[in-house]
């Protein structure tokens, strides 16, 4: 449990640092301040154990990374920021769930399995993103539109499957 909590702060720092480096690289100092503010706010809400400010900070991190990509900042840092942000958001939620449960059986085993899963997802995400950055495919409008529609349909099915479970 403590490990998950510590790792939350580590990943928040890592995500914020990646964004800071990206924005500082281009000298966009007002945005550097915004990134630092988001990171600090996230760390504070993680410290206090608040759910929705953390979610807001995660969305802000993804938004800042997207803006960085659009502004042609180093995409690698932006991808790292999103992966770290996703990890921090997931870790924070897990730590909060563990803390709010009145009784947890074999908490260490549970945390170990969770961290292994997260590590696998992070590693896969970074690997796939790196691969994607190396590949440069030029698509005309129609194939791009087809891929877009496929992405939309696939995601819709994925989300509806997950929601159906609940």
């Amino acid at each position: 449990m403590k490990t998950a909590r510590r790792l939350t702060f580590v990943t928040i720092s890592l995500g914020t640092l990646a964004l800071l480096l990206g924005y500082a690289h281009d000298g966009q100092w007002p945005w550097v301040a915004a990134v630092a503010g988001t990171g600090l706010g996230w760390a504070a809400s993680a410290w206090l154990g608040r759910e929705w400010p953390e979610t807001l900070a995660f969305v802000a991190t993804v938004g800042l990374a997207a803006r960085g990509v659009v502004q042609s900042l180093p995409t690698g840092w932006m991808v790292v920021a999103v992966v770290a942000g996703l990890s921090a958001w997931t870790l924070g939620h897990f730590a909060r769930r563990m803390a709010s449960a009145p009784q947890v059986q074999d908490a260490d085993r549970l945390a170990r399995r969770f961290l292994l899963r997260l590590l696998a997802v992070d590693a896969l995400s970074l690997a796939v993103a790196a691969l994607a950055l190396l590949i440069d495919i030029r698509l005309t409008f129609l194939p791009a539109l087809t891929l877009g529609v496929l992405l939309f349909l696939g995601l819709t099915r994925l989300v509806s499957a997950l929601r159906r479970e609940t």
């Binding site: 993804v62 997207a66 947890v104 059986q105 085993r109 995400s125 970074l126 950055l133 791009a144 939309f152």
Partner: protein, 429 residues
Amino acid sequence: MRRSTLLAVLIYGLAFAAFTLFEGRLLVLALPLIIALAAGLLYRPQKPCLRVERVLESDRVGEGVPVAVTLRVTNEGPALEEIAVQDAPPATLHVNGNTSMLMALASDETAEITYTVEGRRGCHVFESVQAEARDHFDLSARRETLPAPEPLALYVLPAAPHVRRVAIRPRQTRVYAGSIPTRVGGAGIEFFGVRLYQPSDPPRHINWKVSARHTEALFTNEFEQEHVADVGLIVDARQRVNAMLANRELFEYSVLAASALAQAFLQEGNRVGLLLYGRFLDWTTPGYGKYQRERILRALARAESGESQVFDGLQYLPTRYFPAKSQLVLISPLCADDPPFLIALRSQGYELLVISPNPVAFERKALPDTPEIGLAARIAAIERTITFRRLRQAGVRVVDWNVEHAFERTLATALAHQPPRVRPLGIVR
């Protein structure tokens, strides 16, 4: 918003921005989110297939006695990486410890949740168990309500004081030897009369003084036979006669008295039945011994006062439940319109003993000490005295119990001696 929905919204947003801004690298940012979502789908929990077993340390206890409850959960399906199991003890019980647990359950693995409960008199029914399985990222969940496993109920029995002996004298007894005088000569302890000596009579029972006056015959002493009797306990559960204060009810004292009397009568070997007369008729058929004691105590644990238009008065007391000329014990605070029905019972040949928890004294303690309330209490007390006098004139034995005093002491004082033999209509012989 669910976490999976939020991720999907972010992915849609990034994809939309990528297509509208012709910026393919934005799709790269969406990849970690898509992988996380896919992991959620891949490891989504199956429907929990759990066997739940609830073990109570004891399914019957006294008031305030803690009972350990153990809930054993066995996973009979595929492994569940995260499952929260929540037991639902009755809200009427005070719970010590945790009733829920978060755990990972491998296939065929068993986990235990242990906590203790304690409560007041009643039959406390345990509800079903809730289980919620999730994946580690909490992107999908399955909720399941598991049927309540046996045992379903915890009986908290009334804490009955020990009553040594209650002297009763019904007009009819049963054939088995007991402790109630039967008005029939034979083997016993109390002197009953003198009769002619018969061969096989024990010589030590020969009444030499009477025999000396009759030179041609011998006379022997006869003793009063003592048998067991049928006793019908009637607990008045009508809400209108049972005064209720903020945190206690007079009915609780009626239940306490009934349990003490039931145990005392059964200990003497009598056949005892119980009728709860209130919202409905709850009849426990007569019986003997420890088994019957348990049945009566459980019926009393379940007992609640209530209102019914049918059973508003005592006129519907079902006399067919009780053997003719048996002993009836009515435990009731009584109200002014009850005596005619009780006198009617006496006229049918029943011996009637009324234990009346005093509602006037009970309520008086909780009210402020003003002259008006003092006067009202006096008037109510006088009405009660008149009611009791009417009943006593009809041959009904009445015990007025101020519940501030110990029941066993009140009973010992009021019923220490054998009751006089009275005719059905109450004329003392």
